[in-house]
């Protein structure tokens, strides 16, 4: 079996490009490294950086992350006429989709499977037109395959499930758009260590390039604007599972759905086994589908014990106007937030809310949900009938090693304490780590005036500027899941990244960095996109 230990540090699952949370580094004293003075100063002067011997690169805009959030903003800015020489993307990953692909693939969404994302949420196309459904249709040759996705988007969600693109289609599209906008020439590889304010306005972003690629250990990027797009600050294990893993040093029987765990499926094909699945969101659905597909198509004899902490029996919500569908334990929702929060009336309502009101509204709209897909409902109903899928409701009191290489989950149920022995436990709850687990975010909170929003994440304005982090007239922005709890709910989605990219691009246009994309420019650029014409302004 795989030893997964190296991929987990403390309570955080390490994804591609992510540095494990570590103790603050001590300055080495070598030229070109951080000094004590730099580490402790909230504001850096040009002189201070020069004294440390760190080379400085001047560029108007720096994007920290290099994933989908960076990519979508760069797409907007390139379309708004910004040349590639005016943007630096500091990235620890090779491609913008690497981390996303890693998480999707681990949670059992390989390239041929479909994501939980809308047809018009296109990170490779700022207009969302043609949608993924159209593009899938036009890529097919048989009439039935051409019609199927079009019929799907025409009748969804009334007569069909929502259309969702295959993950492979998304990655392919992003690669194509990356080539078109000259993405690769904007990227500098390495680990971003911190972003600090410059005493005369602007920011310094410290990059640690791969060892041996630069004369100094660090390189400083001096810019007017910074975008923080670091993705998940980290993914956590449930505390009881974390405790089990650490105490018994067993990283094979108890896994998180977001870490590679194909050994479990392989093992279950070899001999019958029992799996405890914890969680009732999209990831749990996908894991259940994989387990059942293996039963149906590859002869696995797996028994599934599905553990719910909160069992949803019916539609729920505060009133008739806000009632989410639910049943069979699940809260049903097409996507991770109701569509009205993407750009409709729920979005405007959230934008007007503050503090506890906003938190309350986010709690109503958010939470753990899964799409009501016919395939999944049929699979689970069949499993219940045939006795190999069982539901349990309760709170876990402990997880202990059991006889015959099993792990026993003890749960408090309404009928007393229950013991569930299993060959494997898959944690599909998708707990997120605190933003302080991410070194760049922790540094921002400590040194750059950034604060927390009502959900404890990074506090941003409606235009995604980080509150308190302005430096002179320069601004720092943040996008993605680390900003959840702000005025926009859908931050952790392709559509949300498009919206935040637009908001930032418009704000930068107001500051004179680029042109505001008007109708004429939009149509013209869509035309260029349609014919895959490379954008000007490339190096």
């Amino acid at each position: 079996m795989n030893n997964l230990e190296p991929r987990m540090v403390n309570e955080t699952i390490i994804t591609p490009g992510m540095e494990p949370p570590v103790e603050p580094e001590q300055p080495t004293g070598a030229a070109g490294d951080l000094t004590d003075e730099l580490l402790h100063a909230d504001f850096w002067s040009d002189d201070l950086v020069a004294r440390a011997g760190i080379p400085v690169v001047d560029v108007p805009l720096v994007s920290v992350g290099g994933g989908m959030g960076s990519f979508v903003l760069c797409d907007w800015l390139r379309i708004a006429g910004v040349p590639t020489s005016e943007i630096k993307v500091l990235s620890a990953t090779e491609t913008p989709w690497e981390t996303y692909q890693y998480l999707a693939s681990s949670s059992q969404v390989p390239e041929h499977e479909r994501l939980r994302s809308d047809s018009v949420s296109c990170p490779d196309n700022i207009w969302g037109y043609p949608s993924y459904a159209f593009r899938e249709a036009f890529g097919e040759r048989s009439l039935s395959k051409i019609i199927a996705p079009l019929w799907n988007v025409f009748t969804e969600p009334i007569f069909t499930d929502y259309f969702t693109p295959r993950s492979g289609q998304v990655f392919k599209g992003v690669r194509r758009e990356a080539d078109r906008i000259g993405w690769w020439s904007m990227v500098e590889h390495g680990q971003v260590r911190m972003v600090r304010k410059r005493d005369r306005g602007g920011y310094f972003t410290i990059l640690t390039p791969p060892s041996g690629t630069t004369p100094t250990k660090r390189v400083a990027y001096r810019s007017n604007w910074v975008q923080i797009a670091v993705g998940y600050p980290g993914l956590r294990y449930l505390p009881d599972l974390q405790e089990y893993r650490q105490r018994h040093r067993d990283y094979a029987h108890v896994v998180n759905a977001y870490e590679p765990h194909t050994h479990i499926y392989e093992e279950l094909l070899l001999r019958p086994g029992t799996v405890v699945v914890r969680g009732s969101g999209i990831v749990a659905s996908r894991i259940l589908q994989r387990l059942i597909d293996d039963r149906d198509h590859h002869g696995a004899q797996t028994t599934i014990n599905h553990l719910f902490r909160h069992y949803i029996r019916e539609p729920h919500g505060p009133n008739i106007w806000m009632r989410r569908p639910g049943g069979n334990g699940w809260a049903y929702q097409g996507f991770n937030w109701p569509k009205g929060s993407w750009g409709g009336q729920l979005k405007f309502r959230l934008e007007r809310s503050e503090g506890e009101d906003r938190k309350h509204l986010l709690e109503i709209m958010g939470g753990t949900t899964t799409p009501k897909r016919k395939l999944w409902r049929h699979q689970l109903a069949r499993g219940k009938r045939e006795g190999w899928y069982r539901e349990y409701i309760g709170e876990v009191t402990s997880v202990e090693p059991g006889p015959h290489d099993t792990v026993v989950t003890k749960i408090n149920t309404s009928g007393g304490v229950l013991e569930l022995p299993a060959s494997f436990i898959i944690d599909a709850t998708g707990l997120e780590a605190d933003i302080k687990q991410h070194r760049v975010l922790a540094d921002l909170l400590e040194h750059s005036g950034a604060g927390r929003n009502p959900l404890g994440k990074l506090d941003v304005e409606r235009n995604f500027e980080i509150r308190g982090a302005r430096s002179g007239t320069s601004k720092m922005y943040a996008v993605g899941s680390s900003t959840l709890g702000g005025y926009y709910a859908v931050v952790d989605s392709f559509l949300g990244l498009s919206y935040s990219g637009l908001q930032i691009a418009d704000d930068l246009a107001n500051q004179g960095f680029c042109k505001r994309i008007g109708s004429w420019s939009s149509v013209r650029n869509w035309w260029l996109w349609s014919f895959h014409r490379e954008l000007p302004g490339r190096r």
Partner: protein, 144 residues
């Protein structure tokens, strides 16, 4: 689509007033009506006017129904299907003689005019509108 009420109203005015008008200018000569071209234009644009003005009231109705939806969205199928009650109401209004100028429109002429306008505007709003107005979808269908 995820419209707000104000977005619905703005979108309706734009779709019928601009896209519908351009389409009506094109289609009117082939509308089956035995009348001079000016009379035909008067008829088709009267239909368009009714769809626009009465449509503003319809939007209140549709928005009310939208409130029962958890997602607070308006699926494409709904946007197409709302053409049925709207079309019937528009025909009854045109027939009733309350429309200024009392346009002469046969049922066939009405159907060709209304159905094609409805289809063209529906197709436009399900995609191409975002090309010309990239912010439209993020702001509840509002232009301003």
């Amino acid at each position: 689509m995820t419209p707000t009420l104000w977005g619905r109203i703005q979108t309706r005015i734009f779709l019928i007033g601009v896209v519908g008008s351009i389409w009506t200018l094109i289609i009117t000569p082939v509308v089956p009506l035995s009348a001079p071209l000016s009379t035909k234009y008067q008829g088709t644009f009267s239909v368009l006017g009714v769809v626009l003005v009465v449509g503003l009231v319809w939007e209140l109705v549709w928005h009310f129904f939208q409130q029962f939806r958890w997602e607070k969205d308006w699926p494409a199928l709904f946007a197409l299907a709302q053409g049925v009650p709207e079309g019937i109401a528009a025909w009854l209004i045109v027939r009733s003689g309350v429309v200024p100028g009392k346009p002469q429109v046969t049922l066939m002429a009405f159907l060709v005019s209304f159905v094609t306008v409805w289809l063209v505007t529906w197709i436009f709003v399900t995609g191409p509108i975002r090309v010309a107005f990239p912010r439209w979808r993020f702001f509840g269908g509002r232009f301003f």
